[in-house]
Symmetry: C2
Subunit: 167 residues, 2 copies
DNA sequence: TCAAACTTTCAAAAAATATTGAAAGTTTAA
DNA sequence: TTAAACTTTCAATATTTTTTGAAAGTTTGA
């Protein structure tokens, strides 16, 4: 496989993976492109490489910056803005875990908690609702801890130990 | 909060969570409904509760069964089919982890492997592509192991130990 | 201050995805 | 074998999401 093939294969794979995880194609592809680009890219560059419009590029870059995985960079003497991705994949994972926890897991945990705390009126259906949402609540909290502590942190010795232990 | 409110809050939360993870609303809601239902439900029951069409119900039930988290059940003397969800949330998580690994992670790992093994022609861009896809490959493999071994298996002592260790 | 060089916004259009419902298919019991 | 009781399929439709592109906004340097 030649460089250009490998590159486009990677970008398109990342793009379709993204949609599978609720991230839109353009956003995932921009991220992929920046991740493998040795130099920061301008908006023009990105638009050209991925054949997407200026508006689309602008909006998705903003989202990637909100996620904390893409940064603006300024080249001296250049008016326009350049963008780079977080290049350390450990740090990338940590950031994504943190944001998904904040945006999805924590609100879910809150609701599972509310729902599982309704008054037990003694009926089967109420008992089942309480039982299952309690179980989900506990599981979600465990997941939250694992995402933030195991994947996260600079430490990472836990992950290494784990992988060794379990491989 | 009363039972009915709690129930519909749970179902709608699960539904919107689903869409965030690339699972459609109806599928996630059917799953939620079955999860908290003490009795197996018929297609009629589901259609009525969730206000969705027969076709939609049929297709999404089939998908849930493909995922291995919903089962057909037959009541004696009844012609129609009834459905239940996997009720053990540990087992549910295990099954979901296994399926996501198989459908998403493993194909991705394969492609990352292919891409990261292109010939190094000495250019910066090739070096960067190889470096980053190698790093992602390693990370994806670690994630795969964790999903299948840590969340999965009946063992689960690892998870418990981990949570205790890290909480 | 102006205007060139950019970026952002957002209404409209396009694309992707989910849903419906009726026809076709299947199973069962008599 | 038939017909009632169900389930599945799938083309058409509806809904949601993404993308576009041009106008509005911003920043900078002269």
């Amino acid at each position: 496989m030649k460089y250009d093939d490998a590159k486009s294969k990677f970008i398109s794979t990342w793009g379709s993976l993204g949609t599978l995880w609720g991230i839109n194609k353009a956003m995932a592809q921009i991220h992929a492109l920046l991740l493998i680009s040795p130099e920061p890219l301008s908006m023009e560059d990105i638009m050209e490489e991925l054949h997407i419009s200026r508006g689309n590029t602008s909006m998705n870059l903003r989202q990637l910056m909100d996620w904390g995985i893409v940064f603006k960079e300024n080249k001296i003497g250049e008016r326009k803005e350049f963008f780079t991705s977080e290049k350390d994949v450990q740090e990338l994972a940590r950031q994504i875990a943190k944001e998904r926890s904040r945006r999805e897991l924590q609100p879910t945990i809150k609701i599972l908690n509310d729902v599982s705390n309704i008054k037990d009126d003694g009926t089967d259906k109420t008992k089942e609702l309480i039982k299952q949402t309690k179980a989900l609540h506990e599981m979600a909290e465990t997941l939250d801890i694992m995402m933030n502590k195991v994947v996260g942190q600079g430490n990472n010795w836990i992950t290494k130990a784990l992988v060794k232990l379990v491989k």
